[in-house]
Amino acid sequence: MDQQIIDLGQKVAALEAASTMANTINMEIFYWWCTALMITIHAGFLAYEMGASRAKNVLASAIKNLLAFAFVCPTFFFFGWWIYNAFPGGLTIADGASAALPWSMSMGPNLSDNATGVFWAAFALFAATTASILSGAVIERIRLTAFLVLAVILGSVIWILAAAWGWHPSGWLTTKFGFHDAAAAGCVHLIAGAFTLGVLLNLGPRLGKYNADGTPNALKAHSVPLTVVGLMLIIVGFFGFLGGCIIYNPGGQWTNIFGQPATLSSFAFNTLMGFAGGIIGGWVKTRDPFWMMSCGLVGIISVASGLDVWYPPLAFLIGTFTGIVVPMIANFIEKKGIDDAVGAVAVHGCGGAIGVLVVGVFAAGYPNVNGAPPVTFFGQLVGFVVMSLLGFVPGYAISAVMKAMGTLRVPRDVEIMGLDLVEVPIEAYPENIGRPAAETLVPTGDFGSATAVPAE
């Protein structure tokens, strides 16, 4: 009998160990696939920016976008992850942050730590997404290296400092003011939009964007279909992004990043309802498929802060309202002489601001955990002000220094001829779409070659 009890105890212990390991691996798998899906956001931004560029700048825009990703990932390893773990209290370094330093034993393959790598990866993708928001707005005239420096500062310093303050279980905006931002409308979208606005003020509009009397001209995207497909890819990737915003607790209920109980189902309800509302709002206001998809995106952003708590029809209404309002804001920004090539300030900045503030209007009173105050409009307003300033001030100041040094913008003649001709060794459209053909290729029947002949 005693032996049977011992055997049973051993079996239970083995089952518990197996269950714990299975839960740990499930957690890893969940964030792994969220990260993989988030790569689709970058495929989308790539297509979107290339499409929004004129034919003479398509490949330069692609290079800029690809390098933003490539520079943000290592810099996020070097210091971004540490910033997130170090500064939730403000500007004092938190205990335990040393585990996030790049020489820590947690920052590499480690059999006793299954979590750090997948969380770091998900956050690195959030960082790259934030940097990509800047990327589209500044196309066709920013110097590549200036952009890369700005992308690293935004992606690996500014947004993650905002995340430490307002998207962290111990972030001071939450612990002191009850700030609620379940899916990062503030620290990703509002921050990126505000930073972009600061950069655009110094960068100036593309040549030909404005007439002498200040009225704007449309510098048309060379491929609207590519931009629309790109936006849809961003939406697909958004599901990975939003999945990465919820905490998988092995053996327990999901929580949002602040530790409040949540479900992935709530995210599913409200993401789709906000998205649908945004598309409809964009259609009502513009009838333009580019703006319909942009407004679909902004519909999701506008419900992101309260994604865990909205009644789905309310999310739909918020998404629709924002979808109607944001094209008007983009128009207003354009009329003020700010050339935002893809509407990033309106979509991400204003969409993020609406997302943060609307929680204070319609979701005040939700309780917090660990003694933090409940959600209030005042708390959301504080978060909005802090994040707006944290985004705008460095974006404006750093780009002003670059402008003074003459390293922010490409020379005028280079801009006129197009960046591809000057900086890129290959052509986007060798068959000469959009300009007179000097020569063209005709098939010879030999599958290994083709013959160049003068165009008729």
Binding site: F71, M105, S106, T145
Partner: protein, 58 residues
Amino acid sequence: MNSSPITSWDGATAYFTFADSGLGLWLSLIGSVALLVAIIWYGTRHESRDFAKFLKKP
């Protein structure tokens, strides 16, 4: 080059290359930081030269 910090998988924790070697770890880390900085510097110079070359063309 033997960069393994472990000789057995039993009880292994951090097992990445140079996990137990300060020199290898720091050389890799400093090298990668220096590489990024150098590429930005080189890229700025290269871009300026490209622009100058283009602007000089008749």
